[in-house]
Symmetry: none
Subunit: 119 residues, 2 copies
DNA sequence: AGCATCTGCTTGGTATACTTAGCACGCATC
DNA sequence: GATGCGTGCTAAGTATACCAAGCAGATGCT
């Protein structure tokens, strides 16, 4: 394990850096996130890649947005929605519109997808 | 397990609905996502909650944004970054979608506005 | 009818995510 | 010195995510 770099090292280093910036010990973060402190230690050292739920919980405790954390973990491409790609844009906007009920969202999405598939 | 509802049923139903809308079989989706077809079947029936990587892959294959998929899975709060910016978002996205014809855009906008005015 | 192909699903197995119990060390106090 | 507390980490154990092998049914073709 001398110098061996796992795929999750960058993420772990990011989490440790943010934790230290927030002046929290592993045990304190563990209490806040309800994730065990040994596991957090292992995550920080790149031994495991945590689930999105754990990432979300850590992000909340460290007052980072979930989006930032997912970007760091490679779960979101922060350019994806803006790189001239239409795919997902309309869908995302519909989902994000709080004035629409779930049924209305479903209806709009179904119609939209129908249009996309047979132009 | 008769009628027993797992926490992931909504997500599974969402994925199945999108897959069927896209006219893909489980095996086709499995090939596209590199996820096994039995597992996808189990995910759709709410037996397991898939990781964010699997969700991202499914989203890509079904041409849904990762954000949309994560929202559906409860991994992102869709209001988190967009509260107060709902107005105009859907309309903008529809206008900007190059895959829609003018008629289709008009239709979608008409329906959308109808929903907004009388909820 | 038989055969091939496609479909969704069951079952047992493997790997990883995550926990619990506990160790070693550092520091402060008496 | 001894003791207590906080710190990060090890190692064994548990649960879940996900896979491979294969079954049963439906459909189409000869």
């Amino acid at each position: 394990m001398t110098g061996k770099k796992s795929p999750w090292n960058d993420l772990g280093e990011f989490i440790r850096a943010q934790r230290e910036l927030a002046n929290l010990s592993l045990r304190q973060l563990a209490e806040m996130t309800k994730v065990s402190n040994p596991y957090l230690s292992q995550v920080e050292r790149g031994l495991y890649k945590p689930s999105a739920e754990v990432l979300k919980s850590i992000a909340g405790a460290l007052q980072i947005s979930a989006e930032t954390m997912y970007n760091q973990a490679g779960l979101l491409d922060d350019d994806a929605g803006t790189k001239g790609h239409d795919a997902g844009r309309v869908e995302q906007a519909i989902h994000g519109d709080s004035r629409l009920s779930k049924d209305q969202k479903d209806t709009l999405l179904r119609i939209y997808r129908g249009f996309i598939e047979r132009p």
